[in-house]
Amino acid sequence: MVHKVNSGHPGGSLGCTEFFVALYNEVMELKEGFDMDGKNEDVFFLSNGHISPVFYSVLARRGYFPVDELNTFRLINSRLQGHPTTHEGLPGIRVASGSLGQGMSVALGAALAKKLNGDDHLVYSLHGDGELQEGQNWEAILFAAGQKVDNLIATVDRNGQQIDGPTEEVLPLGDIGEKFRVFGWDVLEIENGNDLQQVVAGLKEAKSRTGKGKPVCIVMTTMMGNGVDFMMHTHAWHGKAPNDEQLETALAQNPETLGDY
């Protein structure tokens, strides 16, 4: 997808592939079809909207829209905008994201709506680690604990990279799990977020900790660009598309990608 239009964000997408596959295929309770209100089903919010390629890929495979439509990513007149949006009516998306730091507040609002509706399904969200530099997150983190929003599982993708370099050089985040803990959250870690079994187990463990008076946070360590050797251990592939030769190399390393590129 990213190669075809020569733009997009492959690094973070590859790092979160296992998370999305686990969440949508093994963990979330979903109804058939899509409606905006998401009543009586689990809902998910992607706060770091730039990893739209993996989100769209998993949504299409889960049946929200045709897999063929992935070929329209970032093209004119597409429902698959560069960053996810409700504006073109793409099923599976419930809020626009891309301008960072807003998703946790939205996820919390949806969690409050579920409580008001007596709907005991859960709200899941994903956040980049660099994104936690946005102050709005800390307003939301305070609020979630203060209001005991215990039907939310917020996962932080701890890949340690952002556009200008390693997070710990750009603006150090330190021990993210400890920070959430002292703010009053129940925190667990997924040590290798690129191991599907670990991710499934971590998400299920998180689910078992909901409903106990605390919001739940998963700090999930991932490798940006996972599965493609030249995209790993660097922030260089945050927002850059591979050329023809690089694409061929990358796909050769991932024979199971089913050709949706």
Partner: protein, 317 residues
């Protein structure tokens, strides 16, 4: 000229509070959020009667806007409330992405708009909020003029699907519109028919416009007075019908002349019926500390300023 009677001075924010009280009793989907200004927004009764439908977010407006967007997912109708400055400029990107672009059914309800906030000074007196909000695609922008109209507007926006910015204020001002009124979003209210000049006013300036029109009548100048409570979508038909008759217009608002009602009217006239226009508005400036009356006088926002603007625009006909 039509006679309008002040039924007793009241603040428009109390009209909002009264509207919320009624909505609390009649619409179970309405929820309210506030950023540490419950007393200023007159939400006490709503909170007392519906504690489970009120969220105190603390001094954290960005989170409040995001929470509101999320609450719509599941069918709630969130009213996000604080001062106009913190409800718009401080959280513009949150409103832009999570509310407007995502077309969420969020009602941003803002008190203490304009200079009439008074003594707190310019840090709290936003004069740019109408412009900020009207530029967002799909956003409805309303500036109500008195207690009764603000109450009616509050109730009306709950029944309208889509993002809305409702602006009102702090000072006690004349309450002169009917107690039981139908508030139609996007529909101008004709207050007085006249033939020489059209005065188009919004918010606190509507009462001032009526007072100016009364004095001008004594000088044999017949003023048509229109209350535009909805700045977007603008009732262009009502404006054009009036100026085709009178041939000149004065717009009046407690807002910067850049980005406000006057500019929206000017655009309508420029494209459909070019007409001399004068702007009663602040002149690209910040406010300052003072009493509401002193500030209205100093910044040219009262009936005297409207009267002067009418005489000027008549000379340009």
């Amino acid at each position: 000229m039509e006679k309008y009677t002040d039924q007793g001075k009241k603040d428009t924010r109390s009209g909002f509070g009264a509207g919320m009280t009624e909505l609390g009793r009649t619409n179970p989907n309405v929820v309210a959020l506030c950023a540490d200004l419950v007393g200023s927004l007159k939400l006490e009764t709503f909170i007392e009667e519906n504690p489970e439908r009120f969220f105190q977010v603390g001094i954290a407006e960005a989170n409040m806007i995001g929470l509101s967007a999320g609450l719509t997912i599941g069918g709630k109708i969130p009213f996000a409330t604080t001062f106009a400055n913190f409800a718009t400029g401080r959280v513009y990107d949150q409103i832009r992405q999570s509310v407007a672009y995502s077309h969420k059914n969020v009602k941003i309800c803002a008190s203490h708009a304009g200079v009439t906030l008074g003594e707190d000074g310019a840090t709290h007196q936003i004069l740019e909020d109408i412009g900020l909000m009207k530029m967002l695609p799909g956003m409805t922008v309303i500036n109500s003029c008195d207690f009764n109209q603000t109450k009616a507007a509050t109730i009306a926006i709950a029944n309208h699907y889509g993002p809305v910015y409702l602006r009102f204020g702090r000072p006690k001002v004349a309450n002169f519109t009917p107690e039981h009124q139908q508030f139609e979003i996007g529909k101008a209210v004709m207050l007085n028919e006249g033939k020489d000049v059209t005065i188009i006013a919004t918010g606190h300036l509507v009462w001032e416009a009526l007072q100016a029109a009364e004095r001008l009548e004594q000088q044999n100048i017949s003023c048509e007075v229109i209350n535009i409570h909805t700045i977007k979508p603008l009732d262009e038909e009502a404006i054009l019908t009036s100026v085709r008759k009178t041939g000149c217009v004065v717009t009046a608002e407690e807002h910067n002349f850049l980005g406000g009602l006057g500019e929206s009217v000017a655009r309508t006239l420029a494209t459909s019926h070019p007409t001399p226009q004068e702007f009663v508005a602040t002149q690209d400036t910040f406010g300052e500390s003072g009493t509401p009356d002193q500030l209205m006088e100093k910044y040219g926002l009262n009936n005297k300023a409207i009267e002067k603007a009418v005489l000027k625009v008549l000379s340009r006909k």
